[in-house]
């Protein structure tokens, strides 16, 4: 398995675990009488599971298992692959900070973190598509 795939999958599993912890905390909140402000984690948890885990593990396994593009260039651009990995995870971390922050501390002016996160995630998604498109082919 290529190094990049191992990073995608291992980091993906961290998002899976952390996302489920958040989910448990959200369900525990009314039962335990914790602060309702904990519910600001809802969009973060959904995206940890769906983008951080599911989409990221697809990217990792896809980079490893999709049909080879050519003998000279079997997996597309490795550099683009790493850029996708970094952009995706920078975007996810920024949104994990920014989404609760704009509700809990609107005076802090952290809306820019979400603007940067949105650009990082968009570039990551489109980068993966561009880098994988040529490998989705009949053998």
């Amino acid at each position: 398995m290529p190094t990049l795939s191992r990073w995608f999958i291992k980091i993906g599993m961290l998002y899976f675990a952390i996302g489920l912890m958040m989910s448990a905390a959200l369900l525990a909140q009314p039962v335990m009488g914790w602060s309702a402000s904990l519910q600001v984690l809802r969009p973060v948890y959904l995206h940890f599971l769906f983008i951080g885990w599911v989409s990221q593990v697809i990217m990792g396994v896809g980079y490893w298992m999709f049909p080879k593009q050519s003998k000279d260039n079997p997996r597309g651009s490795e550099r683009v692959g790493w850029a996708v990995f970094i952009l995706l995870n920078v975007g996810m971390v920024l949104r994990a900070i920014g989404e609760p922050a704009i509700i809990l501390a609107p005076q802090a002016g952290l809306g820019w973190t979400l603007a940067i996160a949105s650009l990082c995630l968009l570039l990551a998604g489109w980068g993966f598509i561009l880098n994988s498109w040529g490998r989705i082919k009949e053998r």
Binding site: F50, S55, I58, P67, G111, W112, A115, S118, L122, I136
Partner: protein, 141 residues
Amino acid sequence: MPKLSVWFIRASMVYMGIGFLFGSLLLHHKGVPTHPWTFRLLNPHIEVMIFGWTMQFVMGITFWILPRFSGEGRYGNAALGWWSFGLLNIGILSTAFGAWFMLDVLSLLGRLCVLVAVGLFVIVMWPRVKPLGGAASAKSS
């Protein structure tokens, strides 16, 4: 990779690109508000990401990877698979547009198309969920 899987997976990637674009616009709007209509992209974003990207991707990989039959038609009833692909995508687009423009009947019709598409896909794939080794193994399972 069979042609049907190529189409399923490439279509799923197109939806992924659209889903990431909608999501990016929504996230940007949350942090730095742009246009109020941006929030109308939320339901199409969810539809496209769940059904268009993930589910369709899994269907494409499944059609490619599950055990095959020997000889002709080794992927099973591919014609039915193409119907499934067509209906799935008509359904996803209808549901997403219905959600975007608040046309509930269009969304419902879209979801029914997706339901039929998934039913056809199950019919195609069911016999391929079998031990490796072709028809003989399939009979013994």
